[in-house]
Amino acid sequence: MLNARDLVKEFRVARREPGLAGALRGLLRPRETTLRAVDGVSLALSGSEIVGLLGPNGAGKSTTLKMLTGVLDPTSGRVDFEGRSPRADRRWFTRRIGAVFGQRTQLWWELPLRDSLAAAKALYEIPDATFARTRAALVAELEIGSFLHVPVRQLSLGQKMRAELCAAMLHRPRLLFLDEPTLGLDLEARAAFHRVLRTASRGWGTGVLLTTHDVADIDALCERIVVICGGRVAYSGSVGAAKASHARRTRLVCTVRRSADTPPPRTAPPGIEMVREGVRVVLTIDRARATREDALAWLGAGCEILAEAPGEVSTGDLLLDLYGAARAVAA
């Protein structure tokens, strides 16, 4: 549905020199350097697929997202949505997508939430019947019916973000762009978010591109992840496949006789981390710095290990490994 090929974005930044003399020199003869924020990103999105766009801060996620949505012109490369350009066919394109960017509101601050939803109806020229049906479904799924009459400024963060999502989905977009939508949300709001995105993806065939730093979002939603580091795609594929092929860390789940006998976690050798849940002990081993044997020797020194089995590495650990590997390649 959406195809991006070899996206590059360069920014010119004035280089600041230290001190007053430097500032004056900068004023007279500014020295500009070119910063390559995105360096050849290609990706494809299809309908009904939820894709996580991941990467450390400053990796170029937001810039990529802005180019995909036509907000920012790429320095080179091209984006097409069903054969058309989001930039050249802006109105056509924007009628088919929805967007929630972080905590930047698109609701009417002073008006009751209901009015903001009515505004979206006018904006996207949604027919009455479709609007009533979609609104009812979204209100129920997001559990926002109880505060439709409340001015948006009085809503809590969780309520506001659910309302944002509702307003962004009323026209049943073919594609949803979400930039860190779950930042700071409470558990209920987050659950509502996940629920409605899955429903939209399954029921309406809406494709979702989501940037997040939250592992829970990825585990709950993403069939596929695209990891961007230093402006390049470091990995693209399913989370499961990445765990099998790219994880440097492994996990060992041990059962010990007495929880009290286990060594304090802070005494763990480099490359080994321990989490205790009663007699069940989970060891995470960084294979570059420690081995399975090192870990077992350390744990078994003071306590009796009854059983041990390999565990699945967490998505968070996987991401750390992916980011680390990408940094190593760049360096």
Binding site: T69, L72, D73, G102, D115, A122, L123
Partner: protein, 266 residues
């Protein structure tokens, strides 16, 4: 067309929201009327004490003052809020979302900026203009009514074009909100009185660079002699003639700013 429909729908919504508390709405309008009434009385006192100002008598002074206000209030109904909020929304990143709406970014921002007290104030200023016209030697006639309407339309285009041009500074200079407000609010006030009282360089700036003088001074100047010479008649009609290119220039600057934004980001 969709843009216009959206603008009207939003205007209705905003009006509804503000009229929710009718008592307060009325209090606010009355307060505004008192404010401008006092300023008008002050002007009348000056004219009555000193006779003519810069060659203009009471009727012309009231026209100069009223035309500046009425065109400013009409243009400001949708644009004053754009001028005040653009820079902030660029800084917060909210402007990205504006670009993802299926209407033009300017229409979207204007719809969100509708200020219902502006048209009320415009009606008051319009009444002042009408009253001033009846005081004028030339008197109220179909011809002068057409002149008044054309001048207000032209003046609104000029004020709107200048507001849009100043607002666009926000695309280039971050933290420029106060500068934009100063330019729009401060510079406009200089044409509350005929520009003939200012030194020549100031007159030149207000004629050529920021053509506020065509909102009121030149049309009022031309009105008196419009029946006698073609040159004066042309001057009387100058608001509309300058308004169109001024509005075009304002929106061209806005589009240039948008293009810069798309290339460089916020």
């Amino acid at each position: 067309m969709g843009g216009l429909r959206f603008l009207l729908a939003q205007t209705g919504l905003a009006l509804q929201a503000r009229m929710h508390d009718r008592f307060n709405f009325v209090i606010e309008q009355v307060s505004n009327v008192v404010f401008y009434l006092c300023a008008t009385v002050a002007l009348a006192i000056i004219v009555m004490r000193f006779g003519r100002i810069g060659g203009f008598g009471l009727a012309e002074m009231m026209l100069v003052y009223g035309l500046n206000l009425v065109s400013y209030f009409i243009a400001g109904t949708y644009l004053w809020g754009v001028a005040r909020t653009l820079e902030g929304s660029i800084r917060s990143g909210a402007f990205d979302l504006v670009l993802l709406k299926p209407v033009g970014p300017l229409v979207f921002l204007m719809a969100r900026s509708f200020e219902p007290s502006m048209p009320v104030k415009a009606a008051g200023a319009f009444a002042l203009c009408l009253y001033a016209l009846t005081l004028h030697d030339i008197g109220a006639s179909p011809a002068t009514s057409i002149w008044l309407l054309a001048t207000i339309v032209g003046g609104t285009l000029i004020q709107g074009g200048i507001m849009l041009a100043f607002s666009s500074i926000g695309f280039w200079v971050s933290g420029s909100r106060d500068l934009v407000e100063l330019l729009i609010y401060g510079v406009r006030r200089t044409v509350d009185v005929p520009i003939s009282i200012y030194p020549a360089p100031v007159q030149l700036v207000l004629t050529v660079v920021v053509p506020y003088a065509f909102v009121n001074y030149y049309p009022v100047l031309g009105l008196a002699g419009s029946t006698e010479s073609a040159g004066m008649a042309a001057l009387a009609a100058s608001a509309l003639a300058v308004g169109l290119p001024c509005a075009a220039a304002g929106s061209a600057l806005w589009r240039l700013g948008l293009r810069r934004y798309r290339a460089a980001g916020g």
